[in-house]
């Protein structure tokens, strides 16, 4: 079951309200996405912890309905 970009964005926003999110399709099947997420919450955290925050926001969707999400996270400069 593909997951639309808007839904992915909105889940991330719910978990990380200040997140600035850019979605990019990796394939035109509506199922493979790349997301760049920028949030103040990432400051001082390792990449592992940053990705964990995003995965937490996505909850059980990640690895389930949403099976291919390339993720890049940054704290704002």
């Amino acid at each position: 079951m593909p997951m639309p970009a808007a839904e992915i964005e909105s889940l991330i926003k719910q978990g990380i309200p200040d997140a600035k999110i850019e979605m990019r399709a990796l394939a035109d099947d509506g199922d493979h996405w790349a997301a760049t997420v920028v949030s103040k919450e990432f400051a001082g955290k390792s990449k592992l912890q940053q990705h964990q925050l995003v995965y937490k926001a996505l909850g059980s969707h990640m690895g389930g309905a949403l099976h291919a999400l390339q993720l890049q996270t940054f704290a704002p400069k």
Partner: protein
């Protein structure tokens, strides 16, 4: 037969570098597993590839063992590093070389990389 968590713990305890992946290093079965394999091979680090597609127990077990929802997953000296995206970022930033050096894991740094 030890339970799945004990089996996984023993794999990460007994191998300096482990890639839990979909498929094998020679035949990765997803793009992310392929990418992670390529990075590890490029720096000529000796790693154990574990094919999580072999059993459902392994496929589900590694996700709860690491508390991480996706495969591939990389472990260095028993420490969970992350998935393919994190491995790539650490590789590109040079942090991966610093970590490998710090942990005493042999690898070949690409020309021009900051070790």
């Amino acid at each position: 037969m030890p339970n799945i968590n004990e089996q996984l713990q023993s794999i990460v305890d007994n191998n300096d570098v482990v890639l839990f992946m979909k498929g094998t290093p020679d035949f990765p079965q997803c793009g992310f597993s392929h990418q992670a394999t390529q990075i590890l091979r490029f720096i000529e680090v000796d790693f154990k590839g574990v094919n999580c597609l072999e059993t459902d127990e392994l496929r589900q077990g590694i996700k709860s063992f690491s508390n991480w929802p996706t495969i591939p997953q990389v472990y260095l000296k028993g420490e969970f590093v992350g998935g393919a995206d994190i491995l790539r970022e650490l590789f590109q930033s040079g942090e991966l070389f610093a970590t490998l050096t710090e942990k005493g894991i042999p690898f070949k740094a690409p020309a021009g990389a900051q070790a």
